[in-house]
Amino acid sequence: MSAPSHRQERSSPGDRGVGTRRAPQITVRGVGKSYGGVPVLRDIDVDIAPGTVHSLVGENGAGKSTLLKILGGAIRSDTGSVAFDGELTTIGSPRDAIAHGVSLISQEGALVPARTVLENVFLGRWGHRGGLVRTADDRSVFAELLAYTGFDIDPTARVDRLSIGAGQQVEILRALARGASVIAMDEPTAVLTEGEKANLLDLIERLAAGGTTVLLVSHFLDEVLKVSDGITVLRDGKLVVTAGAQTCTARELVTHMVGRQIDVLYPRPEPVRDDAPVRLRASGLGGGPVSGVDLEVRAGEILGIAGLVGSGRSETLRLLFGADPLQDGTIEVDGVPIPTMTPRKAMRAGIALVPESRKEQGLVMMRSVRENVALASLSSRRRGPLVDRRTERGRVAAATSEVDVRAARADSPMNTLSGGNQQKALFAKWLLREPTILLIDEPTRGVDVAAKAQIHRMIVDLAARGMAVVVVSSEIEELLELSHRSIVLRGGSPVGEYPRGTPRETVIAAAFGDAEPPPAPDIVPATQHHPEAADDEGDTR
């Protein structure tokens, strides 16, 4: 309906390109939002200058994503106003937002999976003549957009065959195709490879230089400080401070976010005792992309596995747990070989796997905290076939309080918890089994700073109590600081082993091959597509 009129505004294809609208001054006054009587945003005042990069930072649940979504039109504020160029508006729907030149790129993504890149980029506003779609117009604009952004995407590829990073690029292209003057991005770099990340940050700077206003929510303070002009810190739904990026340090930001000085240093793993027995030994491990991986972990030891996307680091853990079928090699637990590993056998042998994605592989999101935490230990609390609720309640309460899961009540559904608390509940679920070998895939993905520190502390403590731990993380620094030693995988095979304290450049170089990391965006081909995020030096501080 309104698509034709927008089209008329930008009748020449070139105009539909990039940054042609003048970005407005954004004035936010007294914005507040509550969910079910619980305020998540209170009385926010922010001014954002046109053509700048403005970042919103805070812990999970501080309200930064909510504020971004209010600005982006995805949700309505309960109180207060947002003005663009002094013109008070109520952005009540994504349609209003588009009409105001605001484009929101959310974490969840808003692509039509089974359709092509081109259709997605021009979603709802395809070039047409009298109702018939004309892709030629779209293609020429698409080519201009690619030239501007430096992306390399096949317009005819199906979106569901793209990597996460490329999917995000499609969303950015769409925002630009709509002539967005304000682009709001929620955690855009969380799922990107190192190369994609550098490219995106570069693009953000160019967009701002070209007059577009970019609003950014990110956990990665280094990036925030690098690209932002202004930074707003939120805590518990309230604005703590808005400052120029030049005058801030990461430590100050963290202090503002947490409201107290917190220790951003990693805990040191305790040395492994000389007489500590080997708990887990794998040799010649192969299956899926993995081949020829040997590893050995002793009681009390933390072994890191580093590598790029598709290097086979997560797959190695999955093979060890029997989540994927083992094609080659042997796995021994306490010297006893276990043929044809399955999750059930692994669990019986004392192995636990904290999987990569808590939403997809770890938790049953609509079920309660208690049911989730008890899920892997159902049979050990058997009282006949009935669930022994009293014992269960006690054990779950003990496990959740040990890892400091904060939930309103044990029967709150999992999806009402913050990311950090969900992740801690996932740990509680596996610790309840008292495993001797703990495999952890991405211990702190999508978790706020305070929870991150708690999880790091917990991993080190568990090892100190004699657990054998294997950690996979895309945050190289986390891996190198927590592990006694790390092995690096490339193309499914080990390329080296590095002790704690190795400079991270060395490890990154090993993961990439001989040379420096390539700067170009590395779009993962469909066959290698993998949900893992990148190998990166994501610095949490």
């Binding site: 979504k69 669930v387 009402t416």
Partner: protein, 339 residues
């Protein structure tokens, strides 16, 4: 407050049921009114019918109502377990026909109790077969059971050679046992329905098996990585559904004094409708047996109300369809508002 409360970060919650938000003081004693909206609707209709008719609250009408509800109620309980486990069972009415025919024919060859037992075993075996087909083939359960149900109907035709199966004349009285009055003046069919659904309720809400069913339907990968045999749990759900179908088939055959290949055709959709009206999520992982029972009662009440009020029953299906839409729409609206 917010330091100890589940973080109310709306934006981070996604997907179905993502709107469930726990706010301090918003929920007392774990009871949320919107969870029981369907019970309110049921009570409202009961009250309305009590006042607008003299006949609704009579013993004979209530006995009759529960008797009518027993078939759909049993099937709804089976459908609910399957849906919670993340699969659909469209074979319910075809399994019903096959097992009822088995019951009549084995009964004619041996005795009525043996025939009834054979019918239940047949229902369980058909469920085992359906479940194995769904789990092993990996085909979407909706399609796989649609195809399987056609096969089962065909099987029923083959077994009966297209004729109606009757019990032996001297066993006809025994065969009608489900229509006999039983405890508290309820029919035997009603007693079977109530006992079976009560057992399934306990099975689903209080046993480790029940926990596994919810986990498998809510997130099968998380369940698998927690050491749960996802396929076996789903097959078990199909077997339970098969037993429910067999019992429902016996009730129908007992009433009619016969069984035939085309019996109860299409009733599996009423069962799924009853489960959904009750508030069981078709996405799996959420729901309860009592919800299926309440849904079945609601559907039966509409028919009963039409009769008692002397309304033209030609409109009954229109009203039933509207009710299903209304129930699901209100449920979604409440969930969204809570988000």
């Amino acid at each position: 407050m917010s330091s100890t409360v589940a973080e109310p970060a709306g934006p981070s919650t996604t997907g179905e049921g993502g709107g469930r938000r726990v706010g301090p003081g918003r929920r007392t004693g774990g009871v949320r009114v919107r969870d029981y909206g369907i019970v309110v609707a049921l009570v409202a209709i009961v009250v309305a019918l009590s006042f607008s008719t003299d006949t609704f609250l009579t013993t004979s009408n209530l006995v009759n109502l529960l008797d009518q509800c027993s078939v759909v109620g049993l099937l709804a309980a089976g459908a609910t377990i399957c849906i919670i486990a993340g699969v659909f069972d469209l074979t319910a009415s075809a399994s019903l026909a096959v097992s009822a025919i088995v019951g009549v024919q084995v009964g004619a060859a041996t005795s009525v109790p043996v025939g009834f037992a054979a019918s239940v075993v047949a229902g369980a075996l058909l469920g085992l077969l359906t479940g194995t087909i769904v789990v092993r083939s990996g085909v979407n359960s909706f399609i796989a059971t649609l195809a399987t149900s056609i096969i089962y109907r065909g099987l029923a035709v083959v077994v009966t050679a297209g004729a109606i199966a009757y019990p032996l004349a001297d066993e006809a009285d025994d065969f009608a046992m489900f229509t006999w009055p039983s405890l508290f003046g309820l029919t035997s069919a009603t007693v079977v329905f109530l006992v079976v659904t009560a057992l399934l309720w306990v099975l689903l809400s209080a046993t480790t098996f029940g926990r596994r069913v919810y986990a498998v339907g809510g997130n099968d990968e998380a369940a698998r990585l927690s050491g749960i045999r996802v396929g076996q749990i789903r097959i078990a759900a199909y077997m339970i559904s098969g037993v429910c179908s067999a019992l429902a088939g016996l009730i129908l055959a007992s009433r009619a004094g016969s069984a035939q290949s085309s019996m109860a055709s299409g009733i599996e959709l009423s069962a799924i409708a009853a489960a959904v009206i009750g508030g069981t999520s078709i996405l799996g992982g959420e729901g309860a047996i009592w919800r299926g029972v309440v849904g079945a009662l609601l559907l039966t009440l509409i028919g009963n109300g039409f009769n008692l009020l002397g309304w033209d029953t030609t409109y009954q299906q229109v009203v039933q369809g509207l009710l299903i839409l209304l129930a699901v729409t209100v449920d979604q609206f409440l969930r969204r508002r809570a988000r």
